[in-house]
């Protein structure tokens, strides 16, 4: 399939996308002037952002479909280094993902942001929300290190202010601080990686030309320095993507932001980091060593399993979703790691299979995670509650939200016919192809990775049975949940559209793979598009029909027809339905507090995988009769689950920083003659060094 390129009409795709970026930036700058007409402004402002995102989506979608590459120069920026812009299938793919999600989230925001009016000034959101989207698209468009880092910083800083938006809560302030520190540790690492790649590019230090991606691409790197550059980039982008063990900021910062921003951060912003890893490893450094792929695969598996285990034991709905993002980034990395290993062994078709799986999962995750965060936002909006222990029975009050959230839960649990299954299935197929590798060691170890991925998939289903079951099903566990109400129409539409996209992506995978074939060709020089749809559009046959095939339309059609036939047959005869109280074993008096809640649902997993967590469990019994446990009164159970990595990895660093701070503080005396002595000594030392 090759979509008609807009170039035939004499329009450049890049210019269209840049125009929408300018429109977004302009929105951000104009926003403060409307601070006293908030309601009118919100109804006008977010549709404009949605429109800009849609335009950018359409242009990049067509560009990827036709597989074109456009270079463009903006004569601004540093002297001697104008902004280099490049729209190729890789950046086009990620711009499509980011702007499509931004489009949905902006529609949702019309209703969602209005709920803040009267409680808090909305100008902060109005300024930084469009800047955030613009920053992501700028990052993806950049073709030199400076423009890339500029976009990266716009994205990081604007999201920092968005995380800080509800700053009356001290937890949010702490989350924002942690976020901005981690973002800059990551950015520093990326900067160093670019410096290594540019410095060894052979262009020389006199001009800035070495900092364009074109120069880095054509430069020849020694294996050692290529490895250093890869490692720095992987740490930097990994910190942004939230891979274990650099993930601790993610479950703090993503839930702290307003839900529309959480949706963008988890759905879109993490993908810019995935893009960065792909750009550096495949496009610039050409995967020259085997251990890169192995490292990415192992880190991916670790993130997937740790992310999902923490998601299962989490009681806060938004934190559960955030941990699940860690898991999904892990799955994407697993696909990328396999692609890198296959690429190293010169198996382009298998590499294309694995990289398609990773890209497909990136697209899927943007859709369903955006959708789920928006759903959590609707719940928050209706009940003012994030803790699942106080929810329950919302399906009766919020019919739309619950149905849409269920679609998202099915997608993320990798169940057919939704989209999550397609990408996980492709990843499994890539795993199953690993016996064709020539390395015995990898042959033995890679299948264990597949088993770990299978464990992750079902644990994630378990986490979402819990999330949906505890919050939406059963009986309301608190008064404000019993009085919940449905969200306004704009929010419902903003959630319904990605749910439809999730289903479409799941039912028509071969068309989607056709569309993204240019991206996989750019990365690994091969595509599975031809073989994937070789059996007809309804069948997905990644390598060959003999090897494996999957047909979502057939399964969907089959299940629906069985459903309809059974339903009609059974309803031909009228059996009455009597509504009765649920079975209470004859004791009477079932209360909502007797239901299984989030903590109890997770209990088996907590017990089996307990060594992954730092658990603190206490049971306290009030005794009626002093000292006699024979007559217990009220029992209190409390549980605290903490991230092991926090104590293992972060506290030592934080302590070390403070110790160093104290040491350097000894230099400070506040007396001017001591400072003069310091300067004098410095000058002498410098002179000695120069002479």
């Amino acid at each position: 399939m090759s979509a008609p390129a807009l170039t035939t009409l004499g329009v450049s795709h890049t210019e269209i996308i840049l125009t929408s970026v300018c429109a977004l930036l302009l929105c951000g700058f104009l926003a403060p002037f409307f601070h006293n007409r908030e309601k009118f402004f919100t109804s006008l402002f977010f549709p404009v952002i949605a429109l800009a995102s849609f335009v950018s989506f359409a242009a990049s979608f067509l560009a990827v479909g036709s597989g074109l590459t456009e270079n463009y120069l903006i004569s601004a920026g540093l002297p001697g280094l104008p902004f280099h812009v490049r729209l190729d299938p890789l950046s086009g793919f990620f711009i499509t993902v980011v702007s499509l999600l931004s489009f949905f989230v902006s529609i949702y925001s019309v209703g969602y942001v209005k709920t803040f009016i009267g409680r808090q000034p909305i100008s902060v959101i109005a300024v930084f929300y469009p800047l955030f989207i613009a920053g992501m698209i700028m990052t993806l468009l950049a073709n030199d290190a400076f423009f890339f880092l500029m976009g990266w910083e716009v994205m990081a800083i604007s999201s920092y202010f968005l995380v800080l938006y509800e700053d009356r809560n001290p937890k949010n302030r702490r989350a924002a601080l942690l976020y901005v520190v981690m973002a800059h540790v990551g950015a520093l690492s990326i900067l160093l990686s670019f410096a290594v790649m540019a410095g060894l590019g052979g262009v020389g230090q006199e001009t800035f030309q070495g900092y364009t991606f074109d120069a880095m691409r054509s430069a020849s790197h020694t294996p050692f320095w290529a490895g250093v550059a890869f490692l720095l980039a992987f740490v930097g982008f990994g910190a942004k993507a939230g891979v274990v063990p650099l993930h601790v900021w993610l479950p703090e910062a993503h839930p702290a932001a307003p839900s529309n921003v959480s949706a963008l951060m988890s759905g879109a912003m993490l993908k810019t980091a995935v893009y960065g890893i792909l750009r550096v490893t495949f496009d610039i450094l050409h995967v020259s060593q085997l251990w890169w792929g192995e490292l990415v695969l192992i880190v991916g598996l670790l993130s997937a399993i740790m992310g999902v285990l923490y998601a299962i034991v989490e009681n806060d709905l938004k934190r559960l979703l955030a941990y699940s993002s860690v898991e999904n980034i892990g799955i994407i990395l697993v696909g990328m790691g396999l692609a890198m290993i296959f690429y190293f062994f010169h198996m382009p078709l298998l590499s294309a299979l694995a990289v398609t799986a990773a890209l497909y999962h990136a697209l899927n995750h943007a859709m369903f995670k955006g959708l789920l965060f928006m759903g959590a936002g609707s719940v928050l909006h209706a009940t003012n509650e994030r803790n699942m222990e106080n929810m329950g029975g919302l399906i009766h009050k919020m019919k739309w939200t619950s149905a849409i959230f269920l679609a998202g839960a099915l997608s993320i649990s990798a169940l057919p016919p939704f989209n999550g299954f397609v990408s996980e299935w492709l990843t499994f197929q890539a795993f199953l192809m690993s016996p064709s590798l020539t390395s015995q060691r990898l042959n033995l170890l890679i299948p264990l990775g597949a088993a770990l991925l299978a464990l992750t998939a079902v644990l994630s289903a378990s986490a979402f049975v819990k999330a949906f079951g505890v919050s939406f099903l059963g009986q309301a566990r608190s008064k404000h949940c019993a009085e919940a109400h449905e969200s306004p129409w704009s929010m419902r539409i903003g959630m319904l559209l990605p749910a439809v996209v999730c289903l479409l992506l799941g039912v028509f995978p071969s068309s989607v793979i056709n569309w993204m074939s240019s991206t996989s060709s750019l990365l690994v020089g091969e595509t599975i598009a031809k073989s994937a749809s070789g059996f007809g559009w309804a069948w997905l046959t990644p390598v060959a029909a003999q090897r494996a095939s999957y047909s979502a339309p057939m399964l969907l059609l089959g299940i629906i027809s069985v459903l309809v036939i059974v339903f009609i047959t059974l309803h031909a005869r009228k059996n009455a339905i009597h509504r009765v109280p649920p079975w209470d074993c004859g004791y009477g008096g079932l209360t909502p507090r007797m239901q299984y809640n989030s903590t109890s649902f997770a209990m088996p997993s907590r017990l089996i995988f307990g060594f992954f967590f730092r658990l603190k469990e206490t049971v306290k019994t009030d005794l009626f009769h002093k000292r006699s446990p024979a007559f217990p009164g009220k029992m209190k159970y409390s549980l605290r689950v903490r991230d092991r990595f926090w104590g293992l990895l972060y506290m030592p660093v934080i302590d070390a920083v403070f110790r160093m701070g104290k040491l350097t503080a000894k230099l400070q005396h506040g007396r001017i003659h001591i400072y003069l002595a310091y300067s004098f000594a410095t000058v002498i030392i410098l002179l000695l060094m120069v002479l």
């Binding site: 029975g393 399906i395 009766h396 649990s413 990798a414 169940l415 057919p416 299954f421 299935w425 499994f428 795993f431 199953l432 042959n443 033995l444 299948p447 597949a450 088993a451 770990l452 299978a454 464990l455 079902v458 644990l459 289903a461 378990s462 049975v465 079951g469 505890v470 099903l473 059963g474 009986q475 029909a545 003999q546 090897r547 494996a548 095939s549 999957y550 047909s551 057939m554 399964l555 089959g558 299940i559 069985v562 459903l563 059974v566 339903f567 059996n575 009597h578 509504r579 009765v580 109280p581 649920p582 079975w583 209470d584 074993c585 239901q595 299984y596 809640n597 109890s600 088996p604 089996i608």
Partner: protein
């Protein structure tokens, strides 16, 4: 085969799954009665139970939502769909191409997901307890399932069930160490996934031990009938999967071979019933937190199968 013949075999496959499943369960229950020294109610009893339930009115809990009411249909549909892709009477099954072994496992996943949600829908403790335990057992079984699929696909270079069946049929002698390991792993998985002793007890309503029964405790009338029927089909489908993977001899490749294939399938199922009952009678139900060890053994066996394929074959 032409289109008409293909449609005919597919229709027979679906009919076999739906209609023979209660018979198979009746056989298993009858054997169990005999082995425990009780008189059996007859092999047709499951059909009578289903008919009785279909004609009854429904008692629906007050706060049951549409998820609760839709679940029986979804579960029945997905399990029947799973049955229709396993080539057990003919390897030329047209629907077989629409789901390979991984997609098949995912079909069971849909059924499990909805059953677990239905368990939580009414908001009683039993339902939630069943859902939580079911999801735990499923997540522990899954790595073993995948490892089994992996090893089987190592032989045939395919995850497509038809191709696996044809490949195994082509072997004159099929007893390799890796297949033996995987076969034992598969039996353990099958016991766990279909809720048999020692993991779950399908006949108990003793509150602290039930898993699957806990989730469907609130169902009645035609909803319960569909859930029960789907449970029977699940046992049947897993047995057919075992036949397709480990003993596919006699599975027809054209319409003329189908009657003979049916006969052979009946014989194999009879034997499987005996094996299941021998295991169930010989073992007691284990504590819920012993299940990880049980499924860990299954995973270990499957992994040994994979390793021995690489090392010995």
């Amino acid at each position: 085969m032409n289109i008409l013949e293909q449609l005919l075999t597919e229709a027979m496959q679906i009919a076999l799954t739906a209609l023979a499943a209660p018979l198979f369960v009746g056989w298993v229950r009858m054997l169990k009665c005999w082995s425990q020294g009780r008189r059996a109610p007859g092999i047709l009893q499951p059909y009578r139970n289903l008919l009785k339930l279909f004609s009854k009115d429904i008692l629906l809990a007050e706060n049951a939502s549409w998820v609760f009411r839709a679940t029986p249909y979804v579960v029945f549909g997905t399990i029947l769909m799973a049955g229709s892709v396993i080539p057990v009477i003919s390897s030329e099954l047209p629907l077989s191409a629409s789901a390979d072994i991984i997609a098949l496992v995912a079909l069971f996943g849909i059924a499990r997901f909805f059953t677990a949600l239905a368990g939580m829908d009414v908001g009683t403790s039993f339902g939630g307890m069943g859902s939580s335990r079911e999801m735990m057992i499923a997540s522990l079984a899954e790595p073993a399932v995948l490892m089994t699929a992996f090893t089987v696909s190592l032989f045939s270079h395919s995850t497509s069930l038809s191709v696996i069946v044809k490949y195994v049929q082509g072997l004159s002698f099929f007893l390799s160490p890796s297949m033996a390991f995987v076969f034992f792993a598969f039996i353990l998985i099958m016991l766990a996934e279909t809720g048999r002793v020692p993991v779950d007890n399908p006949v108990t309503h003793l509150e602290l031990t039930m898993i699957h029964e806990g989730m469907i405790l609130e169902y009645s009338g035609r909803h319960l009938a569909l859930m029960e029927w789907a449970g029977m089909m699940k046992l049947f489908v897993f047995s057919s999967l075992g036949i397709a993977l480990f003993s596919p001899w006699g599975i027809a490749s054209d319409v003329a071979g189908v009657p003979f294939a049916l006969l052979l399938v009946a014989l194999k199922l009879t034997a499987i019933g005996v094996i299941v009952v021998l295991i169930e009678t010989g073992m007691a139900k284990m504590r819920i937190f012993r299940v990880p060890e049980f499924l860990g053994t299954a995973f270990l066996l499957a992994t040994l199968g994979m390793l021995s394929h690489f090392m010995l074959e």
